[in-house]
């Protein structure tokens, strides 16, 4: 290929890249849509039917675990928190939340394990274990219908901004940022599937591809692998910051756990 032609192509690529960067902008608040609105009507019907949504099986398991005694103190979650329908209402909508002792935000899974370690004197449940997901989705389910309301104050703002930096950073061998798909190109298609806005209102989700329930961290790690970046480890502060930013981005939107996704 002649050098002049190569140079023209290089200029074109640079121009396209600049255009893509220039387009990066937050989705206006009134244009935000639940990711449920991007899935097929069949999948949406499955999510909305309590007997057809396979995530509800995990909610049932979570209810059992909530009332089960655990650890050296031989206490159940219910012994301290009472009825989850009352005590846990709205809690998941506020997570990740700032923990003063750690000096950083923790997500719901981490908070459950802190309670297990501190109050129940029980072993931590591993990330993505059936038990931890069941408890998380049971608690998250109690907030359904309520608006996402993570704290936005002097303590959390630096972490929201840290999460935003990860969201907007070009990552991996493909050099893509989260924002390029989910801010700039939502509603278009990627490999035949609609690109959603990535509003994490329904986590933990039941994903048909996984054939099981999984966390927001698992989902985000999947995206990172897809752009051929090395995903952060489960529980990494960076991943929690990103979760916090995503929840802040979905502030005011309606909770709907467990959502069903393709």
């Amino acid at each position: 290929m002649p050098a002049a032609q190569l140079a023209r192509i290089a200029v074109l690529i640079t121009a396209l890249a600049c255009a893509a960067m220039a387009a990066a902008a937050e989705i206006p608040l009134d244009q935000r849509r639940s990711d449920s609105s991007f899935v097929s009507p069949d999948t949406r019907a499955m999510q909305n039917d309590g007997t057809a949504n396979p995530g509800m099986l995990a909610v049932l398991d979570g209810e059992t675990l909530w009332n089960e005694k655990a650890g050296e103190t031989h206490k159940s979650c219910a012994d301290c928190h009472g009825d989850a329908a009352a005590g846990m209402k709205g809690v998941a909508a506020r997570y990740p939340a700032f923990d003063a002792q750690l000096g950083r935000p923790v997500d719901l899974e981490q908070r459950i394990n802190m309670s297990r370690a501190g109050d129940q004197k029980a072993a931590a449940l591993p990330f993505e274990s059936k038990e931890l997901l069941a408890l998380t989705v049971y608690i998250a389910h109690q907030s359904n219908g309520l608006p996402v309301a993570v704290a936005e104050d002097a303590q959390t703002t630096p972490f929201i901004e840290a999460g935003r930096a990860i969201f907007e950073r070009h990552q991996g061998q493909l050099g893509l940022s989260c924002a390029q798909c989910h801010d700039d190109n939502w509603g278009k298609e990627l490999a035949g599937n609609p690109i959603p806005q990535a509003e994490p209102t329904g986590y933990p989700i039941y994903r048909l591809e996984w054939q099981e329930i999984g966390s927001l961290q698992r989902r985000v790690r999947g995206c990172m692998s897809a752009v051929r970046a090395e995903p952060y480890d489960y529980g990494a502060p960076e991943l929690v910051n990103l979760e916090l930013f995503l929840m802040w981005r979905a502030r005011g939107m309606t909770m709907e756990a467990p959502a069903v996704r393709p």
Partner: protein, 107 residues
């Protein structure tokens, strides 16, 4: 192992009504075709039989094969004939069975 089940049966129906019944059961439905991290095939583990009886009479039966997804959801129709009990039973390939029942009132 067959986990818990969710069942939806209308609590009441008119005699002769066609009613929809929905069931969802927790099971991994491992096909037997996948390879595990050690390179060995993961053994097949599936539910292979589902039966619904209405006051002891069989009204629906299904046989499952490895292509059925995890947590099988089955929905079917029957005619409401009399007050009574609908019994649902799932049997896995080892012969373990989970039975769950639901009541229906027919006017």
């Amino acid at each position: 192992m067959i986990g818990r089940a969710l069942i939806h049966v209308p609590a009441t129906a008119k005699r002769g009504d066609v009613i929809e019944i929905k069931t969802l059961v927790s099971h991994i439905m491992e096909t037997g075709y996948r390879i595990g991290v050690t390179g060995q095939p993961i053994p097949r583990d599936i539910i292979d039989d589902f039966v619904c009886t209405y006051n002891g009479e069989e009204v629906f039966r299904a046989t499952f094969y490895p292509a059925v997804a995890a947590n099988p959801f089955i929905s079917f129709f029957t005619v409401a004939t009399e007050n009574g009990t609908l019994a649902f039973s799932w049997t896995d390939q080892q012969g373990a069975t989970r039975v769950q029942t639901a009541q229906i009132k027919v006017e």
